[in-house]
Structure formats: structure tokens, C-alpha cells
């Protein structure tokens, strides 16, 4: 066990896989010699060679197309998209090709690719370095979407994603790279040091896709969250003083529906939290599922706490970001019944 921040844990996952499986290779904009603008691939080219970890042209569609072709050949490529905001030029490749290849070819070809991308806000990145588009991936049949919230899970989930034979979108909450962030933006920056989830085994291990983690047990209300919002929700629980059960979904496809319904069946209340704008966000799906499966257990309306239905606004980051205060208020509201 070593203490790792999220960047180091992801780097370690990649290092382990390059070592174990000669069919893995990594590429992306600035991912080679330089090691990525967030340093996640730092040192990998030097250690494993130019052909295992290299730079690409600035063409996200081309990066994904290349990965799919390599996957069809039999490799297990890991592509980096510099910011998930810039994955949109590759959207057709992801939806019409990666997600559909196995199905339409009757299983003759498939795309065992992993697409890593820094994700989410909280770093004053403005409109195009802050977005959370997980909902548009979740709706695509054939894609898996994984969002870790801590170094331990990040490494284990990334290895599981790489080994998975389906295309996986692996979203890395960039605000968590260097330390946990609970939404209290005025406070001193925290590092991962001292956090039990920053104790990361050095070698190979996996955290399975589709298995949520109950981060905090509670009796009165279930909070569903993922990524940065797991930490913000914890702060919201603290602020509210309410005995909430906090579930970190870890992956939204596959979704751990059993853990979710078991918890809401117990608590009878549910608050869903995400950074993405609210309308049409993944919270809608979660709310619908919980309502369909736990209707008779529900004591009060399911609440969603999410980004506003505006683009991500630079100067208003903290007005936009769904912080602990808004979560605490939602918790208080659902406890009224």
C-alpha cells in the first residue's frame, strides 16, 4: 500500500496494465512524451517505449476511430481525451461505431476500448473545461460509463475498464485529482494524504464495474451520487445533521440497481446529486428508476440537486456548482415528510 493521489493511482493502473498486457497501448493529445496535461500518463512513454504511449493529432474523432480499428484488430487501446468537453467531435464514433460494433456484426467484431477523460467542474475552467456530459453516454446502448471518486477506486475501476471487452467511457473528476473536494471552496485545499481511500495497492487489482459503494450508512434518506459529488454530499450530510445513507454509484452503466433500491426501500427518501445541468441529466433516470421500484416505500418526493440549466459559467462557478448547502437544504426538505 502506498498513499497515492488520484493522478498517481490512475498512472499506476496504466503502468500495471502496460506491464501485464502487451496488447494495451495508450495515446492521446499530449499523452506521450509530456505525460498528459494532467500528468496521468507521466513517465509511461519513457518506461514502456514510444509505441506504448504516444501523442496523437488533435482530432478526437480520429483518436476514437483509431482506437476502434485497433480494438477490431485485437489490441486493447486506451485513449485519452484531454477534456471530456472535447469528446463531442468523437460522439458519432462512440455512438454509431464503438457502441454498436458488436451488435451489428453479430459478434464478429467488438471494440474493447477505454476512453479516459478529465471531467467536471470546480477548477474555474469555464464553459469548455468543466462540463459533465455523462447523461448522453448513459443513454447510448452499448457503452459503459465509469466515474470514480477516490484514488483506490480510480485504479481498480480503470483496470477493470481496460480489461472489459466493451467500450468504456472513464470519466475522471478533475477536481479530485489532487485531493478530495467537498464543495467548500473557500477552505484550504486538501490533499489525499491521510484519506483511507488514498491507500492504494501498488500492483494489480480491480474494482468491478456495476458495484456501487455505500460510503456512509444511514437510516433516513438515501443520497445517490458519483464523482466529486460524493464528497460534496458528505459535507451536505454533515451540514444537515440528518442520518443519510450515501451511495457512490462508481459506474452509471452498468448501474447497481440492487444497492440503490435496497437503500431507498429502507430509508423511504431519496436525494440525487450531480454536477451536470439538471434537465435531461442522469438524475432524471435515477429518479424514474427509484420511483418505479420503490414507489410504495417513498415518504416524500425524490429530490434532484444538480447544476442549473445553463452553460457552465466562469465567474459564477460557485453559484452554479451544487454545493453542500443546496444538498443540506434538499435533505431537510425531504425530511419534512
Amino acid at each position: 500500500m502506498t498513499v497515492m493521489n488520484m493522478i498517481q493511482a490512475l498512472n499506476s493502473a496504466l503502468d500495471v496494465m502496460l506491464e501485464r498486457d502487451p496488447d494495451t497501448l495508450i495515446f492521446g493529445e499530449d499523452a506521450g512524451y509530456f505525460g498528459g496535461v494532467f500528468r496521468v500518463t507521466d513517465g509511461l512513454q519513457k518506461k514502456h517505449g514510444l509505441k506504448r504511449c504516444f501523442d496523437t493529432p488533435i482530432a478526437e474523432g480520429g483518436i476514437i476511430a483509431t482506437a476502434i480499428g485497433m480494438g477490431a484488430y485485437g489490441l486493447r487501446p486506451i485513449a485519452e481525451i484531454q477534456f471530456v468537453d472535447y469528446i463531442l467531435p468523437a460522439f458519432d464514433q462512440l455512438v454509431s461505431e464503438a457502441a454498436r460494433l458488436r451488435y451489428r456484426s453479430g459478434g464478429e467484431f467488438h471494440a474493447p476500448i477505454t476512453v479516459r477523460a478529465p471531467y467536471g467542474g470546480g477548477i474555474f475552467g469555464g464553459q469548455t473545461h468543466s462540463q459533465s456530459p455523462e447523461a448522453i453516454f448513459a443513454h447510448v446502448t452499448g457503452l459503459k460509463t465509469v466515474i470514480p471518486s477516490n484514488p483506490h477506486d480510480a485504479k481498480g475501476l480503470l483496470i477493470a475498464s481496460i480489461e472489459d471487452n466493451d467500450p468504456v467511457i472513464f470519466l475522471e473528476p478533475k477536481r479530485l485529482y489532487n485531493g478530495p473536494f467537498d464543495g467548500r471552496h473557500g477552505e484550504k485545499l486538501k490533499t489525499w494524504a491521510g484519506d483511507p481511500l488514498a491507500e492504494v495497492p501498488e500492483g494489480y487489482y480491480t474494482v468491478p464495474l456495476g458495484k456501487a459503494s455505500v460510503v456512509r450508512e444511514g437510516a433516513d434518506v438515501t443520497i445517490l451520487a458519483y464523482g466529486t459529488m460524493v464528497h460534496v454530499a458528505r459535507a451536505g450530510i454533515e451540514d444537515s445533521g440528518i442520518d443519510a445513507e450515501l451511495i457512490d454509484l462508481r459506474s452509471i452503466v452498468p448501474l447497481d440497481i440492487e444497492t440503490i433500491t435496497a437503500s431507498v426501500a429502507k430509508t423511504g427518501r431519496c436525494v440525487i446529486v450531480h454536477e451536470a445541468s439538471r434537465f435531461g441529466g442522469f438524475g432524471g433516470e435515477l429518479s424514474a428508476l427509484v420511483q418505479e421500484r420503490c414507489f410504495w416505500a417513498l415518504k416524500s418526493p425524490i429530490e434532484r440537486v444538480a447544476g442549473w440549466d445553463t452553460p457552465y459559467p466562469h465567474a459564477f462557478e460557485w453559484d452554479y456548482f451544487p454545493g453542500p448547502g443546496r444538498i443540506a437544504a434538499a435533505l431537510a426538505r425531504v425530511m419534512e415528510n
Binding site: 497501448l25 509505441k51 496523437t56 493529432p57 482530432a59 474523432g61 480520429g62 476511430a65 483509431t66 482506437a67 476502434i68 480499428g69 485497433m70 480494438g71 477490431a72 484488430y73 485485437g74 489490441l75 487501446p77 467531435p89 458519432d92 464514433q93 454509431s96 461505431e97 454498436r100 460494433l101 458488436r102 451488435y103 451489428r104 456484426s105 453479430g106 459478434g107 464478429e108 467484431f109 467488438h110 446502448t141 452499448g142 459503459k144 472489459d164 471487452n165 466493451d166 456495476g210 452503466v253 452498468p254 448501474l255 440497481i257
Partner: protein, 408 residues
């Protein structure tokens, strides 16, 4: 200074329905005229090639000039067979659509030389990334006719399990990558596949197809860019059949320059080839394959041809072009031209040709009959369970629940 008054320019084809078609403005080089650079030539010394036209078969059916390949007559007959089979199959299955046996069909009429020559010029392990108009590749590689028809009828024995639109085949073992309705989106897969082959120090190369209309897609450019940067061992082919449904090649930029010229901006060799000349296609493909296998990277090939049929069963080309335009096309018919050549070199005759055609037609007829016995569209289909398979390697709870909801 004159008063500048800008005008929006919209290109239009020379001929519309009712006009007398003509291709005189093209000034095509004669067979044998365009030079053959050394396979290892530097790209910078080949920038004239995209403006030439690699042709081998002359008007008399003789193979002439520096590109004339040395192919055994057996192989030529094999190519003729694949082309003829494609045409006969197309005819019969097009009619099957009119009879309601399938939802959709597309012909390769006039373009049969392309897939056939390239399938034969490349090795068994190479992979083509097809468009919907290279059925002749599968014919040359002897893909079972019955599997084609079952796919087209979406019946119980459809190898793609009822999931795909007719003719969007996938045939891995025949070097034929999975087709999709989206234009151009597999062009870059060929480049990635080729890079993977190089990564593994393999000897396999990839061949990608795209229509001239689809070269406008960003995917096309991204594929060329990656191919150029990483010297990917592949052959990138533009089938310029001059039409994209109802829009003529000028709408894709074909009035301004050749499609092969797009190679120059990526530092790739660009060859322009008579797409109705089996020998020219074979020779150019061999040239590019040899170059690729020598680690000299990709070649872009424009195959200049003419889409002699409608775009698909949903199309009526007399609505937007002269109905006799195909007959005016100066590069002729690829089957006639190869046949003429074989006869000219004493390796074929009308009688053998008629016998071949009859035999092939019987093969097609038998396959259709066999598939009909299984069932045509709506009369037979694979198990509905197949709808829920292969979404993922293993279905998740959603698919399992939904399958149950449907009672299967």
C-alpha cells in the same frame, strides 16, 4: 476600384434529365499514358500522379503501358467470375426487393471491378473496410451466397442475427469488416487496424473504401491525417462514381480538382485509376500494397468510375440525371472490358462466357431458393432473444428484465 458585388456560387452538373449526356470535358488520358513511379519513390516526386489516370486496358482490350500487370489467365477468369456473379446476384436480389422479400437493396452496377480486383490483389489476412458497394470483394473471396441471401432476407439463418439492414454485411473471415449505414465512419478504423498490425510487427495491411461524396466528412480527413502521421500500412480508396444519391461530384468538390489530389495535403502518394479497368485496379493496388508492406505507409487511390444504377431501391435516378448518362460514360463497362481482354489474349470466348453466366445464375437462383425456404423478411426471423444479445459481452439487468418483460 470596381464595386465588388459578391455572388453565391452553387455548382450544378452539366446535364439534367432531358439533356444529351457527354463526358467530353474530362479529357481522360489514354491507356498506358500515366507513368508508374517506383514503389519506394518519395511522395514529393509523385505530385503529378493525382492528376493522371492509371489505365491498362486500351480500346482493343490489350494491356498496355507501364502498369500492365503480369496476371495468370486463371486469375483473370476468377476475377471475371466474381464480377459477373456480383452483377447477376444484384439483379436477382434487386428484384427480390420489388417482390417484398426484403426491405432494401443496393447494386454495384458498373463498379464490380473494384472489390473483385482488390480482393484478389491483397492477401487473405488483409482486411477491407468496405462501403455498401463492394459486394464483388465477397464474391471474389467466395463468401457463401446463401449467407448473403439470408442476411438480405433477415431470416432465421441471417448470420447477423436480424440486427442489420440488408447488405450491411460483416464477414471477418473473408477480410470484410462490419458495414454500417453511417458514411465514412469506418475509414479511420482501417487506419487504426493497420497501425495495430504494425504495432504487432505483423504483415497484414488494411484497405478502406469511401464514396467520393463521403470524402466531405471530417472522418475522411482524420483518417488521412492519422495514416500520414503514423505511416499506417493501408490503402485508402475513394470510389468516385460521380454521384452521391442525387448530387453530382461537384457538390463534393470534384469540379475543383481530383479526389486523388487530397493525398498531397497529407504527404501521401495519390493515384487516380480507371475504376472500370480490372487490370489497372489490380496493378495500382499491388503497387500500394507493396509500398505499405515495405513500411512506406499509406497510399490514397481514387477509383474513377460511374454509378450505372440508381443509388438504392429507394432511388430513381432519372429524376436528376439523363437516363442514358451511363451509356455515354467513356470508360465502359468493367465486365465487358475484362471479357474483351481475355478474348483478345485468346483465353476466353463467347461460349465459355455464356456458360459461366448461366452457371452463376443457377448458383444465385439456388441460393435464393434455399433462403426462401428458410423465409423472407417478416416470414422468418432469428429468435427474438437475439435482440438482447451482443449489446454488451454479457447482458446487464436491464436487458435481462426487458427480455423477460417481452416474455422470452
Amino acid at each position: 476600384m470596381p464595386d465588388p458585388r459578391l455572388e453565391l456560387y452553387i455548382p450544378e452538373p452539366r446535364h439534367r434529365p432531358g439533356d444529351r449526356p457527354s463526358f467530353e470535358h474530362l479529357a481522360l488520358p489514354v491507356a498506358g499514358e500515366t507513368r508508374r513511379p517506383d514503389v519506394l519513390e518519395e511522395e514529393s516526386a509523385m505530385r503529378d500522379m493525382p492528376f493522371g489516370l492509371v489505365r491498362v486496358l486500351d480500346e482493343a482490350g490489350q494491356a498496355v503501358g507501364p502498369w500492365a500487370p503480369d496476371i495468370a489467365p486463371d486469375l483473370l477468369r476468377e476475377g471475371l467470375r466474381a464480377m459477373l456473379l456480383t452483377r447477376l446476384f444484384d439483379d436477382r436480389l434487386f428484384r427480390a426487393h420489388r417482390q417484398g422479400k426484403t426491405s432494401f437493396y443496393m447494386k454495384s452496377l458498373g463498379e464490380e471491378a473494384i472489390g473483385a480486383a482488390q480482393a484478389m490483389a491483397l492477401s487473405a489476412g488483409d482486411m477491407c473496410f468496405p462501403t455498401y458497394r463492394v459486394l464483388s470483394w465477397l464474391m471474389a473471396r467466395r463468401y457463401p451466397l446463401i449467407d448473403l441471401v439470408n442476411q438480405i432476407f433477415s431470416n432465421e439463418k441471417d448470420p447477423l442475427k436480424g440486427r442489420q439492414l440488408p447488405i450491411l454485411y460483416s464477414a471477418r473471415d473473408y477480410g470484410f469488416y462490419s458495414l454500417s449505414g453511417n458514411l465514412g465512419s469506418r475509414f479511420g478504423h482501417a487506419v487504426g487496424w493497420a497501425m495495430a498490425s504494425a504495432y504487432r510487427n505483423d504483415d497484414k495491411i488494411a484497405l478502406a473504401y469511401i464514396g467520393e461524396g463521403s470524402t466531405a466528412e471530417g472522418n475522411f480527413h482524420e483518417g488521412l491525417t492519422f495514416a500520414g502521421v503514423y505511416h499506417a500500412p493501408c490503402i485508402l480508396c475513394i470510389t468516385n462514381n460521380q454521384w452521391a444519391i442525387s448530387s453530382f461530384s461537384g457538390i463534393a468538390g470534384g469540379n475543383e480538382t481530383t479526389f486523388a489530389a487530397k493525398a498531397i495535403g497529407h504527404g501521401l502518394p495519390g493515384l487516380r485509376v480507371d475504376g472500370n479497368d480490372f487490370l489497372a485496379i489490380w496493378a495500382a493496388t499491388r503497387w500500394a500494397a507493396e509500398r505499405a508492406r515495405a513500411n512506406r505507409g499509406a497510399t490514397l487511390i481514387e477509383l474513377f468510375t460511374y454509378r450505372a444504377a440508381g443509388h438504392s431501391t429507394s432511388d430513381d435516378p432519372t429524376k436528376y440525371r439523363p437516363s442514358d448518362e451511363a451509356e455515354a460514360w467513356p470508360l465502359g463497362d468493367p465486365i465487358d472490358r475484362l471479357k474483351q481482354h481475355l478474348i483478345a489474349i485468346g483465353e476466353w470466348d463467347e461460349e465459355r462466357h455464356a456458360a459461366l453466366a448461366e452457371g452463376l445464375d443457377n448458383e444465385v437462383r439456388a441460393a435464393v431458393k434455399e433462403a426462401e425456404a428458410v423465409g423472407t423478411l417478416g416470414k422468418s426471423k432469428p429468435s427474438v432473444r437475439e435482440m438482447f444479445e451482443d449489446v454488451f459481452e454479457t447482458p446487464d439487468w436491464r436487458l435481462i428484465e426487458q427480455r423477460r418483460e417481452l416474455g422470452i
